[in-house]
């Protein structure tokens, strides 16, 4: 009978809006999480089924889970051997990145030497050179000129130094008060001693950040080790699994199961590390550290 006054209408609208936003936000987030996590669920479930079922009812397996797929993929590609290869490459990349990165980051942040400006300009330049331009000439050099095909050194070479890590270390060292270093120097400490016993303990969070961002890159990398390795015994898991997918899977009776089992083995270490240290993964830290 009585038409609602503008004030009441507004209050009504506000209430409706508040009611809507109360469920809109969780709904959007849940939908997103489902879209991101469902493929992982399918990966694990599919790897445990004798015959991965692509029908809707197959999404909830009705018993009969088996580890046969894991034995199958282990029979086609030596899982332990390829995991070891992945580990050696990743470990080498981490050690190289830490050593070179700490030394260069410290020198660029704290020390005053001739050529520092030039070096810093080069660091900036490297950030803008895309890796794909380097693929062919690096392949020519590494494989044809230096004869490093099928070797750990050849596979780890482009990952031995991570320029992002140099930046991270430089930023952390810049934040330390310079008086700390001069005090240690007055006490007669050599520069390496200052770096090792004064500076390094204070940037421990940077070490963790760099280890995390270096781990994911080489562990997940496919193109470079794929180019450098022909021998199956030298391939990291990502390459062995990709070759299996491309060449063998089509000829086996249950290709999905074995491929998914291999995917779980390849994904687990990186995902596990991420879940444990997820607080340390921030957008700024990882922006340039991850590929693939």
């Amino acid at each position: 009978m009585s038409t609602p006054t503008p004030v009441r209408e507004e209050a009504e609208a506000k209430r409706r809006k508040a009611g809507a936003s109360r469920w809109v936000v969780p709904a959007v987030l849940t939908l997103g999480a489902l879209a991101f996590l469902l493929p992982f669920y399918l990966m694990v479930i599919g790897s445990l089924q004798a015959e991965p079922d692509t029908s809707i009812s197959g999404l909830v397996p009705s018993g009969g889970l088996t580890t046969a797929n894991y034995s199958n993929i282990d029979g086609s590609i030596d899982l332990w051997r390829t995991l070891l290869n992945s580990g050696v490459i990743t470990g080498g990349a981490i050690v190289g990145t830490l050593v070179f990165g700490v030394l260069a980051g410290y020198a660029l942040a704290v020390l005053h030497f001739r050529g520092r400006g030039t070096l810093f300009a080069m660091v900036l330049l490297v950030q803008v050179i895309p890796f794909q331009l380097l693929t062919i000439p690096l392949y020519v050099l590494t494989v044809r000129t230096y004869g490093l095909a099928d070797s750990y050194l050849g596979m780890v070479l482009p990952f031995l130094v991570n320029t992002t890590a140099v930046f991270v270390f430089r930023q952390f060292f810049l934040q330390l008060p310079p008086d700390l270093f001069s005090a240690a120097r007055i006490d007669g400490a050599s520069e390496l001693r200052v770096l090792w016993s004064v500076a390094l303990p204070l940037v421990r969070p940077a070490l963790l950040t760099v280890v995390l961002l270096t781990f994911i890159g080489p562990w997940n990398e496919f193109l470079w080790p794929f180019l450098v390795t022909k021998e199956a015994a030298m391939q990291p898991l990502a390459v062995a699994l990709a070759n299996y997918q491309a060449n063998v899977a089509a000829t086996t009776s249950n290709p999905y199961g074995a491929v998914l089992a291999g995917s779980v083995v390849l994904a687990a270490p990186a995902v596990g590390l991420f879940l444990v240290f997820q607080r340390h993964f921030t957008a700024t830290n990882l922006s340039a550290g991850v590929k693939g």
Binding site: F100, L111, H112, F131, Q132, I136, A267
Partner: protein, 331 residues
């Protein structure tokens, strides 16, 4: 990225407290005169050991970045082919012949066209979904950590591992097609010449989205609360606020997202190689890097492959410049 912002090259820090205190202390601790500089310091700067500490990294940069870039440019204007190890062969100068071959190759045109399709689908999808998820995450009352982790998991997972699941999802007898039933496309997603590249663009958007959500989330923290309040006073609803406050507020991040998506597109290799069996059907999902691999390594023409690499880098550089120009003229 933001790690770069406070960084300033050499000269700025030459007057840093570290440098000054060094001079003053060395004057008082019985070192030779002339400002307390030893001959070594005169030659290499106040901290000569800095040269030593930075040397391994500098050598690495030259060996793994600078030299290969020069080699790529050199190879691209010479007739370069693989020879048996230790055999000296001449690589005659051919001028722009390799570039002519690359630029007239229909396969190359197709590959760049494919990347265009990739970007047209990938960029809007990434920007829209990442922004919506970031805004929702920013407003979330509970479960923030859970959602953040869930969105980010694909980003830290190897493409090779995820490709396995996507073949399971998008294969001819895959989960998606059995859900769609008679609506399933024929031929199926990854073997269909008009759907192969969009499928890849969708996969990459999904895989990378978590990273962009975090980028947007960081940008949203910097959008002033006052602007929302002002907009709300003016009677703007949530949706209106999103378009008049949020979207312009995160414009620089959007520009960064576009640049990173272009770089991702230019680097595309693993997904077309594995999802579509080497860039099929009929090259409908070939990428320039995949073509570089086929030309340079499978067919043994690293000279044309290098020329293609340089063309690719020039194209990416132009796109990035264009993006910056647009951003600057807008602001």
């Amino acid at each position: 990225m933001s790690a770069l912002t406070p960084a300033r090259p050499g000269p700025a820090s030459s007057s840093s407290p570290a440098g000054r205190s060094r001079t003053t202390t060395s004057a008082s601790d019985g070192r030779p005169p002339r400002g307390g500089l030893t001959p070594l310091q005169r030659a290499f700067g106040r901290h000569p050991i800095g040269v030593l500490l930075a040397l391994p990294y500098a050598v690495f940069l030259v060996a793994v970045f600078a030299y290969p870039v020069v080699l790529a440019a050199w190879m691209s204007v010479h007739d370069w082919f693989f020879s048996a190890p230790g055999v000296e062969v001449s690589h005659p100068f051919v001028g722009f012949e390799n570039y002519r071959q690359v630029l007239t190759d229909p396969q190359v045109h197709q590959a760049f066209l494919n990347i265009g399709v990739f970007l047209v689908i990938n960029v809007p999808l990434t920007v829209a979904l990442a922004l919506v998820l970031a805004v929702a995450l920013n407003r979330a009352a509970r479960g923030r950590t859970f959602f953040r982790v869930a969105f980010y998991v694909p980003y830290v997972t190897a493409s090779v591992a995820l490709v396995g699941v996507w073949l399971f999802l998008l294969g001819g007898d895959g989960v998606v097609n059995s859900l769609l039933g008679p609506l399933a496309p024929d031929p199926s997603w990854l073997v269909n010449s008009s759907l192969a590249m969009p499928s890849i663009a969708g996969f990459v958007a999904w895989k990378q989205l978590g990273f962009f959500v975090l980028l947007y989330l960081a940008a949203l923290q910097n959008v002033s609360r006052d602007l929302y309040e002002a907009a709300s006073m003016d009677g703007a609803g949530r949706v209106r606020q999103f378009f008049t406050v949020t979207v312009p507020g995160v414009r620089t991040t959007t520009a960064l997202v576009v640049i990173l998506a272009v770089i991702t597109g230019a680097n595309l290799f693993t997904e077309p190689y594995l999802l579509t069996g080497g860039g099929g059907p009929d090259g409908a999902s070939t990428s320039p890097v995949l073509l570089m691999y086929q030309l340079g390594i499978e067919q043994g023409n690293p000279d044309t492959a290098s020329a293609l690499g340089i063309v690719l880098v020039v194209v990416v550089g132009l796109l990035v410049l264009l993006n910056r120009r647009l951003l600057r003229s807008e602001s």
